[in-house]
């Protein structure tokens, strides 16, 4: 089925916008900075408009939010979960620290 008049119009507007807004490469930088500083009004409008036509950049924002949320929520459990990080204190270091601690009494 061919697109209706309204749909065609929407497509044309989106295409027109996509050509005039900053490209995704610049958008992801602004999106990243939105986690660090308040965006200017102009930037906020650009992000809103860009998100309206680009689901990729929307998802990009979602993913950054999700990563931050999950990492921060469980920050204190990470060393326990994280068997990949390192096996823990080596035997030598453990003994050395124990010696230091009992010597420092």
């Amino acid at each position: 089925m061919s697109l209706g008049f309204y749909e065609k119009g929407k497509h044309a507007v989106r295409f027109w916008l996509l050509r005039r807004l900053p490209p995704c490469k610049e958008m992801v930088e602004i999106v990243s900075q939105s986690f660090e500083r308040p965006l200017s009004l102009r930037e906020r409008i650009i992000v809103k408009l860009h998100f309206w036509i680009c689901v990729w950049c929307q998802w990009y924002m979602e993913h950054l939010k999700m990563l931050r949320k999950s990492l921060r929520a469980k920050a204190d459990q990470i060393p326990e979960m994280d068997s990949a990080l390192s096996p823990g204190l080596s035997f030598e270091a453990r003994e050395r620290i124990k010696r230091q601690l009992s010597g420092g009494k």
Binding site: S32, D82, A84, L85, A93, S102, G104
Partner: protein, 208 residues
């Protein structure tokens, strides 16, 4: 219930037992932020020494581990301040991380927009469950490892510890602009790497 806390009030703990009980946790905590096992051993030792000296300040309030982590955080901060003071890094002397131009290279006239092969896809994951899977952490570390150490550390301080930008800049001796570039590169790289090596595979597993 708080038996450990009550006994802790009475006597200074046996340092040997202490090290066995909390040593690994503190060491891993420090490794995540220092990425250097010698430095991590040092700050863990300093933490235990400081904790032993100031034990009367603890007096069984809250969890012992949380208290130790509090001290460790200060030691890690001191470590970075010392390094920054001793060898201040000029602007641009160290790389911030990969730029990944291939993510935004297209040949159809839409250059600088997402290349279809690298464009984000929808993630079907519960953030809370994510961090409880040890496989996820293996992938996470593999994804962080190609980043310059300083960039990975800045990312950890910001996204895991939630430190303020100003604190991180002061610790690492960098400007806010510098930090933003580092965080942007880290996010760009990590998001893609996690998607390729974790989220897409997880999605495949669910479909089967």
């Amino acid at each position: 219930m708080s038996e450990a806390q009550v006994t802790a009030k009475v006597a200074i703990p046996d340092p040997g037992i202490w090290v066995d009980q909390y040593g690994d946790y503190l060491f891993k905590y420090a490794m995540f932020r220092l990425r250097d096992s010698y430095a991590a051993e040092d700050v863990v030792q300093e933490t235990f020494l400081a904790a032993l000296r100031g034990y009367e300040n603890f007096q069984g309030r809250g969890s012992e581990r949380t208290w130790l982590v509090g001290i460790l955080k200060h030691k890690i901060t001191d470590h970075y301040r010392r390094i920054t003071r001793e060898a201040p890094l000029g602007e641009g002397q160290e790389e911030e991380g990969p730029e990944h131009p291939e993510f935004f290279t297209r040949t159809d006239g839409w250059d600088n927009h997402w290349n279809n092969n690298y464009a984000p896809t929808e993630w079907h994951a519960n953030p809370a469950q994510l961090v409880e899977q040890s496989d996820f952490w293996r992938v996470f570390h593999e994804c962080l490892s190609p980043l310059p150490k300083r960039t990975a550390t800045a990312f950890t301080f910001r996204e895991v510890d939630g430190l303020k930008s100003e604190e991180i800049c002061e610790m690492l001796g960098i400007t806010a602009n510098n930090l933003w570039v580092m965080l942007h590169r880290a996010r760009l790289h990590l998001r893609n790497c996690l998607e390729m090596n974790w989220f897409k595979r997880e999605a495949g597993r669910v479909e089967k």
